[in-house]
């Protein structure tokens, strides 16, 4: 399995984000929520406040570090939910076929007909803002892609020899699905999940920016950008750093996912003649 440049760069960036989030309580110079001194508001980057301060006098650098925790949580949890739903539905649909397959397909088509951000917006409208609702909303969008992949993988794996062997041995359906089929499609699923983390972080940022996601004063990178909008002329650094953080982490996830995909199956994009 050759791991190219993409993969390593992506892994590096992702590691940076993870370290930022995990080590935040120890390396952050201030408290992200409570160290807010209006006397210090809108200060440009200097030796005390490495990234400057925002409109409430909070240290931007600290908030960026703590923001990593939120982004990582959102990314990981939403993708776990996505994958669980997608894999379960897709795998069972392909394995059992019949009306269940039709139902899942129909549902998938409907989900694909609604742009994901719009759907997330709708769910947030119902559940109200905040982290838990955000996790649910993002977990419920985009499972349709995972479902499609799981379904087509299962369809082709279903006819493999070892599956049929297990069937003759009397293994139950669920057991076969989870022990024989699932391990063999982990590759593409993992790739989707990694790439999905990037899109989840972007969605969270967008929703928080709109005021519908993580609410202030929690240091979500997206909500930091909402304040930034008002301050853009006076304090552009408030806009630059959170956005940069989002960019670099999503870039990391995307490169990681791309790298995984390229090494897992270099022929994935080759035409089969």
């Amino acid at each position: 399995m050759r791991l190219g440049f993409n993969f390593w760069l992506g892994a590096l960036l992702t590691l940076l984000v993870v370290l930022a989030g995990v080590l935040a309580p120890w390396i952050a110079p201030f408290d992200p929520v409570f160290d807010a001194d209006l006397m210090n508001s809108e200060l440009p980057p200097d030796s005390t406040f490495w990234f400057g301060t925002d409109g409430q006098g909070r240290d931007v650098f600290t908030r960026i570090l703590y923001g990593a925790q939120i982004s990582l949580t959102v990314g990981i949890v939403s993708q776990v939910i996505n994958s669980v739903i997608g894999v379960t539905l897709g795998m069972t649909a392909a394995y059992w076929g019949g009306w269940w397959d039709d139902l899942v397909n129909g549902l998938t088509n409907v989900m694909l007909a609604i742009p994901s951000l719009i759907f997330a917006l709708a769910v947030m409208a119902v559940l109200g803002p905040g982290l838990p609702s955000l996790l649910i909303a993002l977990g419920l969008t985009n499972w349709s892609w995972t479902c499609r992949i799981a379904r087509s993988s299962t369809l082709s794996l279903k006819s493999q020899g070892y599956v049929q062997a297990a069937q003759t041995l009397g293994y139950g359906d669920l057991r076969i699905m989870f022990t024989q089929i699932l391990p063999n499609m982990m590759g593409p699923i993992l790739v989707m999940a990694t790439l999905g983390m990037g899109s989840a972080v972007l969605s969270e940022a967008a929703l928080s920016f709109l005021g519908l996601g993580i609410q202030p004063p929690f240091p979500s990178w997206g909500s930091m950008l909402t304040d930034a909008r008002q301050l853009i002329q006076l304090a552009p650094w408030v806009a630059i750093f959170p956005g940069l953080a989002i960019f670099l982490s999503v870039l990391g996830f995307n490169l990681l996912g791309d790298g995984l995909r390229d090494s897992l199956d270099p022929h994935m994009r080759t035409r089969n003649i």
Partner: protein, 311 residues
């Protein structure tokens, strides 16, 4: 071809119905009494008697089944309900803002196509070159960037610092106002188009019939024009179609950022104040739009590739 067209258009209807159902189910969960407690000037009603009266007015205390039937029959007559806040028919509110959103989406897509496809083509024809590497790095960056952040930066640079373009708003509807939002919105599709065009062209270039074309004595340029382009077009069209989905979603954020008076900002504002009928109606319209685009893409695809029609 005509039959194929009609069949595809016909297939939209069941999906649309299910989506409408889904939307209704999701939003009937919202406590109707809370959602309706708005006066037309936006103030919340606190007095329970007031709330009860408002509920009565909007028919929100009727049983679920009855509400559902009203919903469906209204939909069939293109009545999307009435806004809780402004008491205006939702469909009017949407119609007012439709054109602005269309302008934005089309402008963004044109921008993305005009730059993305040629870049992808050139990158594929010279694999491993500087142009190729730069294009691919640019593409993956474009896909990783939060669009509204880019919008903020562009706004800062071009509007506030350089004063070349207006920083937000529709203004008098002139082209200048469209540039920043369209470019911001178009960056993601551009990145994706560059990438997929490159992959598609590379795929086609390694196909056998390209070798045949070369053996016939065709020059590189002719081969690209006649054989590569047509076959790569299929992939490009598919990508454009897929992109429109996320474009509409992203447009919501961009419209809010640039205070662009389209359906997107209408949706965001309505969600913020829990103006449920407007939210429902807007989502339905957006979904319809998306389905229509997809069907159009399918039709173009079938027109280009003769193998598809034989279903």
């Amino acid at each position: 071809m005509l039959r194929f067209t009609l069949r595809r258009i016909w297939q939209i209807i069941p999906t649309l119905i299910v989506v409408a159902l889904l939307i209704f189910v999701i939003f009937s969960v919202v406590p109707g009494s809370f959602a309706a407690s708005l006066f037309s000037d936006g103030r919340r009603a606190a007095d329970p008697q007031m709330i009860a009266r408002l509920n009565e007015e909007f028919g929100l205390n009727k049983p679920l089944m009855e509400r559902f039937i009203t919903y469906i029959t209204d939909l069939a007559q293109f009545d999307l309900g009435t806004s809780f806040r402004t008491r205006q028919p939702v469909i009017d509110l949407i119609a007012d803002r439709m054109w602005a959103s269309l302008q934005l989406a089309i402008a963004a897509m044109v921008f993305a196509l005009a730059l993305g496809v040629p870049l992808g083509f050139l990158a594929a024809l010279r694999p491993g070159s500087v142009l190729d590497t730069v294009t691919m790095i640019g593409a993956v960056s474009g896909l990783s960037m939060p669009q509204f952040w880019l919008g903020l930066l562009l706004m800062y640079l071009f509007a506030l610092q350089l004063n070349w373009l207006p920083s937000f708003g529709y203004g008098d509807g002139s082209f200048r106002n469209l540039i920043l939002p369209a470019v911001t919105l178009g960056v993601t599709p551009l990145a994706l188009l560059a990438r997929t065009t490159r992959a598609g062209v590379l795929d086609v270039l390694s196909a056998d019939f390209i070798r045949t074309a070369h053996s016939k004595g065709m020059s590189e340029a002719k081969v690209v024009r006649w054989h590569v382009a047509r076959n790569a077009l299929v992939l490009i069209v598919t990508t454009v179609g897929l992109q429109f989905g996320s474009l509409i979603g992203q447009a919501v954020v961009i419209e809010k950022l640039f205070a662009w008076p389209g359906i997107g900002s209408l949706l965001v504002d309505s969600v913020a104040i829990r103006d449920i009928p407007v939210v429902q109606g807007t989502i339905l319209v957006i979904v319809l739009w998306f389905l229509l685009i997809n069907t159009a893409v399918d039709l173009i695809y079938a027109a280009i590739d003769p193998r598809i029609k034989q279903e």
